[in-house]
Symmetry: C2
Subunit: 553 residues, 2 copies
């Protein structure tokens, strides 16, 4: 007999299934491995639609702004592809193509009437993680259940600030993508829709918590997806899906009126940012949002327009082969899998070949950072998580069970303040290390290259070590993920007779299998100090350019 | 018999007394009222020194940079005057003129050798609240006891980030000024040095918690003083001492490595900023600190240089009589004393006379803001305060007793998160009010004029209502205090048959006495949204200019 919560979950699943128009439904063969190999041959998109979804967001908005493309056709193209992505990878929570089309038509009418776009994202479909609220014109909004059964039926009564900014910029909304229960894991599984899988191999995770976005954008069911990141939740799915992603520093992009777990937790802020196929599409999103002056609406946003001069300074250095970078392959706690180490090395060689300077970086007490941030995540002794799951009686998902300590107590206010003091002290010490590096080597250090995760993808329920991403959350640095390559069983051999540094290192090491992970995407992150989005993104773009040109003979 | 803590306090007092050179000591007559009427006739400063201390900081650094003045003579002038200020108003915690002179001489040597100043504050003495740490070259630093007996003997082992920035900019340190026990009160009294009094009337408070700075700068024992503000602690003493003061938004000026009470409390951040005799001297300090790129050292500082274009936009509007402002006289909870209402009206008339638009502002739920921020201040159930006072056995001072509820519990982490959620929601609602005002009246609203406190000065132990300042701390808005006028018993008559809105209003109302407060300084605050320091300071400057010119026939 199905329990109450199972019935509620089943009803929500049915609602999602029904939201996919009949003639967009396909039978997904059980025996497939990689959705990405099949989705194009599903005979749903027209040739023109198939071309549209392959375009960059930057190219799309250009053609939408000059009238060569209509929003309606772009929207239908992405809706169709999103419908396939949802069916193949289970990456959707809410899907509303009719409404999207009606919004698109209104934008087309606007263009017709005024002869100009309504904003920099005019007519562009944007895919949203199921934390962003969408009020629908003249009616109530969509549901935001965020993977909690007890939240099913919670209707969006207003736009999140970011939704409103994107709307003003001309974006079209058509889908809310999947997240894991609690949002606090690096994979994407919840008891409402089940598991979201990696489009390149259904045995691999799509990453998390913005895993739905990772799968959706990877399959080009979306051209830009909006994710959030409190411990790697933009970066891990970007890396696992061969995408670019930016974790802006807190205060750059508005989080106001979004749903969240542990709402009000401000010790380590969750941040929101885009995932896309290129650095320039990330920039399009960032500049379009900042163009709407989000600081006038969300008190946590810093009144800081996009600083073009910061980018230009990097472009100049890039042209001259004058970038000064650092890198690390190992954070001192967990040795990354061979493909990850190779990706870092590839980036370093590419940069050096172009004349840039890349020196070794000594990670500064990342174990302390990881331990502090870990304590912050559970500083309420799991009270929030227990409350939200307990309300429906649903069990914890395996990833959360891994992180859950039933004996853990909440910290008290003074202990929380002590954690916050330690955080600040650590952040300042790390800034000091940056300055010392500059003093030692003479001249500015532009960014640091590092792994995003210890693994290139991961099999389900095997994501263990969050330290490569979470240390950066504690620092609140800007991080941009750059996709680099794919694991190769012939090159990325396991290290023989590896002696683990600690239990976690052993656990992570054991998971590596060159055969199993063959073909898994591998990325690096480019790290800049706090609020260095322009500079760090420009460096990521240069790295991407160098990697691309290294592939063309 | 003196208790242990009394003995420790007495020893610290003796140390302070001894730090004043013999021939700088004066006998202070018991029967004086206003230090400000006597201090100039103490026969200590030479005529030239007396002229120096009357100069603005902006004029001083100009003459120090062109060699017309030497840092040594400027430093001696301010040290002498500071010695008098300490003796007359009890505004010092640590005084170290010898060291200051040696620092000044080094700067003079630098100037001699290089023919140019070391930085924008070259040779300028800056007075520091006793939260800033000072490492002394080649030796250990000064003491930071912050008014807690249990902290006596705590030696500064490093510079606070701000101290280091000021040092690099060329500032000379010579004094640490007094604060109240806990820092959490609007007056300045502690069990180590006793009470700091108002230079204009020793029966009035100098304000708090940066009360030592208020008295020191008011008496020109300093030209720029550094204060901090978590609930009005820069603004109240600025107002009570006829000074300008800026409460920057959090993240603009570095607080790193400063001492504080309730360290690690981040729900409502304490901020640091200057107090001075003019808006332009505040600007000098702000620009000099930002010039040193404090964000490279303190992770909480936003990488945002001084935005000259924001000031210039205001200067243009000011010239054209095009400023658009709003004002309120009453926050809906406590009616300010008559001189305060008159000060707001004076500012409004001045602005209107110059052609600017000033409309009435409806304070939005300030009672909620005051209640939220109040709960944050005591969210640990007084644990920190009880610990620091309990360590020595010293009793709580009367102002703290007023705020102390022995039955109050600490909030738990989830309750703190809830407070933080409420704070954010309120901040966003208030931003919405700002936008609605602009929509209603068409065009940008530049700033809001408001009282700083309900009273013009206050008699000792009578500071009760913090709401005029604390609501702004919850919003984290930029606030600049502009001194306006002085209470006048012939004009500022008590309201007859006043019916209090509530108990607090009754308490505050009862304290007003036109005779008692005759001559008390009155100020207003200019409020700008978060991180609007350039704009808000420029508006404050314009208001000051208009007030000045309204006094000259």
């Amino acid at each position: 007999m199905a329990t109450d919560w199972e019935k509620k979950a089943a009803a929500a699943r049915s609602k999602l299934n029904e939201s996919i128009p009949q003639d967009w439904r396909r039978v997904i063969p059980d025996n497939h491995v990689a959705a990405i190999d099949h989705v194009a041959s599903c005979d749903l998109l027209t040739t023109r639609e198939a071309e549209i979804i392959q375009m960059s967001a930057t190219a799309l908005v250009a053609d939408l702004a000059n009238g060569r493309l209509k929003s309606a056709e772009v929207t239908i193209a992405f809706c169709k592809r999103a419908a396939l992505a949802i069916q193949w990878t289970n990456c959707g929570h809410q899907f509303f193509p009719d409404e999207a089309l009606s919004q698109a038509k209104q934008l087309d009418e606007y263009f017709e009437k005024h002869g100009k776009p309504i904003g920099p994202l005019h007519g562009l479909p944007i895919s949203l993680k199921d934390q962003l609220r969408i009020k629908v014109r003249n009616t109530i909004g969509h549901e935001t259940h965020m993977g909690y059964i007890s939240w099913i039926g919670r209707i969006d009564e207003e736009d999140s600030v970011l939704t409103a900014m994107l709307r003003k910029a001309g974006a079209v909304f058509y889908v809310k993508t999947s997240v894991p229960q609690t949002l606090m894991t690096g994979e994407t599984f919840n008891h409402i829709i089940g598991r979201t899988v990696n489009p390149r191999n259904k045995a691999w995770s799509c990453g998390g918590s913005s895993g739905g976005e990772g799968a959706m954008v990877s399959l080009r069911g979306g051209v830009i997806g909006i994710g959030t990141d409190i411990g790697g939740s933009i970066r891990i799915p970007a890396a696992f899906n061969f995408l670019y992603g930016i974790r802006p520093s807190h205060g750059r992009i508005p989080y106001g009126k979004m749903a969240n777990s542990m709402e009000g937790q401000e010790t380590v802020h969750s941040v929101v940012g885009p995932m896309a196929h290129s650095a320039s599409d990330l920039r399009l999103l960032m500049t379009s949002v900042l163009n709407e002056q989000p600081w006038l609406y969300d008190s946590k946003v810093i009144p800081m327009p996009w600083r073009v001069h910061e980018e230009e300074a990097i472009y100049r250095k890039a042209r001259l082969g004058n970038l000064s970078l650092a890198f690390y392959e190992n954070d001192g706690s967990v040795q990354p899998h061979p493909p990850v180490v190779r990706a870092v090395d590839m980036v370093v060689s590419c940069l050096e070949k172009a004349g840039h300077t890349v020196r070794s970086w000594q990670p500064y007490r990342h174990d302390l950072a990881v331990s502090l941030v870990g304590r912050v995540y559970v500083s309420d002794g799991h009270a929030d998580v227990s409350h939200e799951t307990g309300a429906s009686g649903e069990p914890l998902i395996p990833n959360v069970v891994d992180l859950f300590d039933p004996d853990l107590s909440a910290v008290n206010v003074n202990e929380l303040w002590d954690l916050q003091s330690q955080k600040w002290k650590y952040q300042m010490e790390y800034l000091q290390k940056w300055l010392e590096f500059e003093a030692t080597h003479g001249g500015e250090l532009d960014a640091i290259i590092a792994p995003v995760a210890a693994t290139a993808c991961v099999r389900h329920n095997q994501y263990r070590y969050y330290g490569y991403s979470t240390a950066i959350n504690l620092l609140d640095w800007t991080s941009v993920v750059v996709p680099v390559t794919f694991a190769d069983k012939d090159v990325d051999k396991a290290i023989p007779d590896y002696s683990p540094l600690n239990d976690m290192d052993g656990l992570v090491h054991k998971e590596y299998d060159a055969e199993v992970y063959h073909g898994a995407p591998v990325a690096i992150q480019v790290l800049g100090r706090r609020l260095s989005e322009e500079k760090t993104l420009a460096i990521a773009e240069e790295i991407g350019r160098l990697l691309d040109s290294s592939l063309t003979p």
